[in-house]
Amino acid sequence: MSETFTKGMARNIYYGGSLFFVLVFLALTYHTERTVPERTNSHLLTESVVRGKLVWEENNCIGCHSLLGEGAYFAPELGNVFVRRGGEEGFKFFLPAWMKAQPTNIPGRRQMPQFNLTDAQLDDLAEFLKWTSKINTNNWPPNKEG
């Protein structure tokens, strides 16, 4: 690098540039916080949804599945499973039946463990996945297969 561009100048760009972009990032975080309640329907975020999120976390579902595209890629996306599997009429019946039928024990097929969830936990989990499916995700995923 040329002699006229000194180490001191490089250091100042590092400090000045970083500080500036940290501030912009904080401003955008503020903007995000302001818009998230509407985009996520936070008025529908009930106690049951919150409990369902804890069931999701405490059974490490993210270790096989993705949720809004993040997580593992071993098993289907579940951000839109509510839409894919029955929606308003069917999902409440689909999910408990599904969870109770695991593992399928079909030889060679990927297996999902039996988590022994109670009916109340299954209900909360369904509420959580239903609420999640209504988040405004800028139309992701492209189709219902996720």
Binding site: Q111, T137, E145
Partner: protein, 474 residues
């Protein structure tokens, strides 16, 4: 402690257990990677003994923890030398080593032998739920342990820098390490609203690997380059500042490339796409940096392997983070690629190239000295070490290529078609088996490379006078 003539300060020796333990955990990481590689093909392999989610947690958590051990070992090695004084407290460093190692091992055993929900109950996750989020699966008590270890560590190296010489390398390294600890605090913040949870989760994950960890990588690289090339410090440090400036200027707002589809506002589609497009720059600058400094070297350092790792880490990081990162970072592209095998391809080459390789670069430089072998290991050991480098690196490139191919086919079958025409996730996976077989084969070669690499540490005695090696290779 010793009369080792190859290290400047006796206290640098505390780096040794950290670096050795890092490599032990690395072996564990790869074994669990192979288990998962097989589970991808034979779905019920080891089920229900080790379900996939458990293997994945062990694989990724071992990765993060061995890199942390590597960074800490690197800091204990290079910070005293740069500060030109002994480490503030070698004893504290050893105590923290045992705490961290014990906590790490117990956590992994917990994952393997206690059902995860039971582990959550046992460790009081209901009081402050932090578990069950990707990469941050550790029980609360482990997370607290990590913070305690980091604080003690930062105090120790921080005091060393404060009382000693404050070189640019030390300042950047310290900033990176402090940033690492500070960003980790967001792992304790888990809002009920999933969108907000995800939003701050990336404060840890993205601002680590595309933020503060880049400072650590660049500082470690600069240190090794000064040592093996003898190029003027002023020149090296100017490069260092330019690289870290680029890293943070692009990387902070680049976080937006994770905010496209999680419920965050649309402004991120633009901010994330534009700034993350700049993120390859610091990685490219590191390639230029390493090759330029090595071409302009003022001395023939006998450790040829260290130079290979140093160049290798910059090129592989540029490919994995820069090229493969850019490939899927623009919002209209990411709309289709998000959360597919393409993501896994990028994650592997980026983590390996940037962080696994920079730690092994430092190990390559420091270990012969720490072990009292000399400025470098003998020729035979170096050859084996370089075999390890090439086997691991080439097989990781192939893993990346096979996963990328799987990702493209997955997108084609599952993502692009309309509702009704699109194949389901599971049906798509069946179509990808051939790629998963190839990935597994490449993974086995990776393991062979790792074994070669570890065997290179078998040399016991001092190297024959190292000038011989220089003459042979110069």
């Amino acid at each position: 402690m010793s009369n080792n003539p190859y290290i400047k300060f006796t206290s640098q020796k505390v780096a040794m257990p950290y670096l050795v333990f890092a490599l032990i955990l690395f072996v564990g990481q790869i074994l669990f990677g192979l288990i998962m590689g097989l589970q991808y093909i034979i779905g019920d392999f080891l089920f229900p003994l080790i379900p996939f989610n458990i293997a994945r947690m062990v694989h990724t958590n071992l990765l993060i923890v061995w890199l942390l051990f590597g960074f800490m070992g690197a800091a204990y090695y290079l910070i005293p030398e740069e500060a030109d004084r002994e480490l503030h407290s070698p004893k504290l460093a050893m105590i923290l080593f045992w705490i961290f190692a014990t906590a790490g091992v117990l956590t992994i055993l917990g994952y393997l032998f206690v059902p995860y929900a039971g582990l959550a109950q046992m460790t009081g996750n209901d009081l402050l739920p932090t578990m069950g989020r990707e990469f941050l699966e550790q029980p609360l008590i482990t997370k607290v342990g990590i913070v305690v270890v980091c604080l003690g560590f930062l105090y120790n190296v921080g005091m060393t820098v404060l009382k000693g010489r404050k070189t640019a390398i030390n300042v950047v390294m310290m900033t990176g390490l402090i940033g690492l600890a500070v960003m980790f605090l967001f792992s304790f913040y888990n809002p009920d609203n999933l969108t907000r949870d995800k939003f701050y989760w990336w404060y840890v994950v993205h601002l680590w690997v595309e933020g503060v960890w880049e400072l650590i990588m660049a500082a470690m690289l600069a240190y090794v380059l000064i040592k093996i090339t003898g190029v003027d410090r002023e020149v090296i440090e100017k490069w260092l500042y330019v690289i870290v400036a680029m890293a943070l200027i692009s990387g902070i707002l680049g976080t937006g490339h994770h905010y496209f589809w999680i419920g965050a506002p649309t402004v991120w589609l633009w901010v994330g796409s534009i700034f993350s497009t700049l993120e390859p720059l610091p990685f490219f600058a590191m390639v230029l940096f390493a090759f330029n400094m090595i071409n302009r070297r003022r001395r023939e350092h006998p450790n040829k392997a260290a130079a290979l790792w140093a160049m290798g880490t910059t090129v592989t990081a540029f490919l994995g983070a820069g090229v493969w990162g850019f490939l899927h970072t623009l919002a209209p592209v990411n709309y289709y690629t998000h959360g597919t095998q393409l993501t896994a391809a990028h994650g592997h080459l980026a983590f390996y190239g940037a962080y696994a390789l920079i730690v092994m670069t430092l190990i390559s430089y420091a270990m012969p000295k720490l072990r009292g072998l000399g400025e470098a290991a003998d020729n035979k050991a170096q050859v084996l070490e370089m075999w390890g480098f090439w086997l691991m690196t080439i097989s990781m490139v192939f893993i990346t290529l096979f996963l990328s191919a799987a990702g493209v086919v997955q997108i084609w079958l599952q993502r692009m078609p309309e509702d009704g025409a699109a194949l389901s996730f599971m049906a798509t996976q069946d179509q990808l088996m051939i790629f998963y077989w190839f990935r597994l084969a490449a993974g086995v070669v990776f393991l062979v490379g790792l074994v070669c690499y570890l065997l290179s540490f078998r040399q016991r005695g001092r190297a024959a006078l190292t000038t011989g090696v220089v003459a042979g290779h110069a």
